[in-house]
């Protein structure tokens, strides 16, 4: 079985700057949960941008599900991203003016594939969103009709997780999703995330600087180890 993500001889530099990323090799297997440790400024955001197809690498290969991202057009990369990747960011993940329900359904409006999968498994996008929300402890009609902006940060992150998982994308990328949460909610959130990723058969790429969480994952990697471009003075 091919890897979910495979990077080969990847290099990236902002125009006029020295190379920020130089990753000889990196793999993420299907269904794997990986903790990627990287302090801010280590090129973490850039790597995620490359994986999302928002940016093109200067050199090397990025394969997602066996597809070479760099050869796809910008529009195809966008489509590929929404079809196969769900995102959870640090905070402010939701459109505050939409309801919780509408927020969770958002990817289904931009990806026919995920809409189709949600329907196949749950009957409709609404059902799929409801199922994910209740699995994440946010069940109930009253809550799903609420404006997303009215929820607490912890609840918002769980809604974001539900959104990342709807329509079963193969990969969930979480960029510091727990840093706005307190320690108790952090663990609960992670456990829920693991369970749901497993249920959906999704791999989880979890990026954080918080080493204490690393033990919960299948594998833990430091970006500094991967990235040869990082100069010792900075790490």
């Amino acid at each position: 079985m091919s890897a979910l993500i495979e990077l080969n001889a990847l290099g990236f530099a902002w125009p006029g700057q020295t190379e920020l990323l130089d990753i000889p090799h990196f793999r993420l297997e299907r269904g794997e949960t990986l903790f990627l440790r990287g302090p801010s400024g280590s090129g973490k955001t850039t790597l995620l941008g490359l994986l999302g197809g928002v940016m093109r690498p200067g050199r090397g290969q990025i394969r997602l599900l066996g597809e070479e991202l760099a050869t796809l057009s910008a529009a195809r990369r966008d489509q590929f991203r929404v079809d196969h990747t769900g995102y959870i960011f640090q905070q402010f993940n939701l459109l505050p003016f939409l309801s919780v329900q509408e927020n969770v359904e958002l990817p289904c409006h931009f990806s026919a594939l995920r809409r189709q999968r949600a329907r196949e498994r749950h009957g409709s996008e609404t059902e799929a969103a409801q199922a994910l929300l209740s699995a994440l402890g946010l069940g109930g009609h009253a809550l799903s009709k609420q404006r997303a902006g009215a929820l607490s940060i912890g609840q918002q992150q769980r809604v974001a997780a539900a959104r990342a998982l709807i329509g079963q994308p193969e990969l969930v990328i979480a960029d510091e999703p727990t840093s706005a949460l307190d320690t108790d909610t952090r663990e609960t959130f992670l456990r829920l995330l693991f369970t749901e990723c497993q249920a959906a058969g999704a791999s989880l790429l979890f990026v954080s600087h918080d080493q204490s969480l690393a033990s919960l994952f299948d594998r833990s990697v430091s970006l500094a180890e991967l990235n040869r471009a990082t100069r010792p003075a900075e790490s």
Binding site: G52, V54, A74, F89, L95, L106, P107, F110
Partner: protein, 420 residues
């Protein structure tokens, strides 16, 4: 469609600025339509001031001047027409009817018109509508007066009231005809034309007022002729101001016009009222166009308001755009989202503008008609007005391209997450 719903949700999240924007567009659209409607109606009502009359005859001057004093009762004739010229015209076999008009006196700012009963029969306006007497009857006695609707309403006169006419046409007249009061015997129905602002008396009555006058001043003591004495005199006027002619056949219009213009008895001039009306209107078209251009600029200002609101919102919405990107919106979607928003704002503005317009017309219809004789109809927008509204929406879309393009660029550089 989904983008449009997203745009609406986003707009309603910023409803205060959105409302202001919509309001500005609504006001400007309303103004544009109002100007357009008043312009159209003014032109129509102007063109229908007089109808059915084939030629207007007066002393030789300018066509517009003749039209102004004979039809609009503005200004004065430079010269009179002799009575025998009038009778000759009336006898002309090509002439079906002739209405003599004699101007010069006034009553509290309203013009007094001396004429005869043919006026009530043949003077038509609008789409060939005759004058209707709403109350009372036409004048019969020497000192009878028939009022235009506005005169009766503004001065609160009723049939049976006695009024005194003033010499000359200024609002405050130093000389009046207090010795020969007139009795109101009839009030005309409203026409929306200068007829509403006119007091009608017989030519003989007009003559009787001035029978004892010499050199423009009333006679004193001995020369004075009382109202009763005047009745005994021959009151056939020596001259009148203008004549309105209706012909048996329209084909004869130009030849009769030439005949009159070449009349040897005295210098006369005949004009076609339709042509003169157009000439007069074209004098005003500059002002009319200026008004239209000003309202176009007001629309532009409204749209620039929208542009400002959209552009300033972009920065605070970078996160929104990034979130949309992360759930799969392509930069093209972001562009579409902003366009949808601009369109939604403009559409709401235009709809609200129409609402304002109709509310305004409903409120102002009666007073505008009363004061300006202008009837503003509460009808559906005309094809031209729809095109204007479509133009506003088109311009909004065009202007919306700018913030849409900026958002597009921004979403390309920001990617999926924004550090704010």
């Amino acid at each position: 469609m989904y983008l449009f719903r997203l745009a609406l949700a986003s707009v309603s999240n910023r409803r205060f600025t959105a409302l202001l924007t919509v309001f500005a567009i609504a006001l400007s659209a309303c103004l544009l339509l109002a100007v357009e409607r008043v312009r159209t109606e003014a032109k129509t009502s102007f063109a229908s001031t007089i109808s059915g009359t084939d030629l207007v005859v007066g002393a030789r001057s300018g066509a517009v001047n003749l039209l102004l004093y004979s039809v609009f009762r503005i200004g004065n004739a430079t010269n009179n027409i002799r009575w025998d010229s009038y009778t000759q015209l009336k006898e002309n076999p090509r002439v079906k009817w002739a209405i003599p008009l004699s101007l010069g006196d006034s009553h509290r700012g309203y013009r007094v018109l001396g004429t005869n009963l043919s006026y009530f029969e043949h003077y038509h306006y609008g789409r060939n509508q005759p004058l209707l007497i709403q109350e009372g009857r036409p004048f019969q006695d020497l000192f009878d007066v028939v009022l235009g609707a506005e005169v009766a309403e503004a001065l609160q006169y009723n049939v049976g009231d006695q009024i005194v006419l003033a010499h000359g046409v200024s609002i405050i007249s130093l000389v009046d005809h207090a010795d020969k009061p007139f009795t109101v015997v009839g009030i005309l129905a409203r026409t929306g034309t200068p007829v509403d602002r006119t007091l009608h008396i017989s030519l003989e009555g007009m003559e009787a007022l001035h029978v004892d006058w010499q050199n423009g001043t009333p006679a004193r003591d001995k020369g004075h002729i009382s109202a009763e004495q005047a009745r005994q005199l021959d009151l056939t006027p020596k001259g009148i101001t203008a004549v309105l002619l209706g012909l048996n056949s329209k084909i004869a219009t130009f030849s009769l016009q030439r005949t009159i213009n070449e009349y040897r008895g005295e210098p006369l001039m005949a004009i076609l009222p339709g042509v003169a009306l157009q000439e007069l209107w074209s004098l005003m078209s500059t002002a009319e166009q200026a008004l239209f251009i000003v309202s176009l600029f007001v629309v532009l200002t409204g749209l620039i308001g929208m542009l400002t609101a959209l552009l300033t919102s972009l920065n605070e919405r970078r996160r929104e755009m990034a979130i949309l990107r992360s759930v799969g919106a392509r930069p093209g979607h972001i562009f579409g989202l902003l366009m949808a928003e601009a369109f939604a704002l403009a559409l709401m503005g235009v709809v609200a503008g129409l609402g304002l317009l109709y509310a305004g017309i409903a409120v102002a219809q009666a007073p505008v008609q009363a004061h300006y004789g202008l009837y503003l109809p509460l009808t559906w927008p005309s094809a031209y007005e729809w095109r204007l509204l479509g133009g506003i929406l088109g311009a909004a879309l065009l202007i919306g391209c700018l913030p849409a393009w900026r958002a597009y660029r921004q979403s390309l550089t920001d990617g999926l997450s924004v550090r704010l």
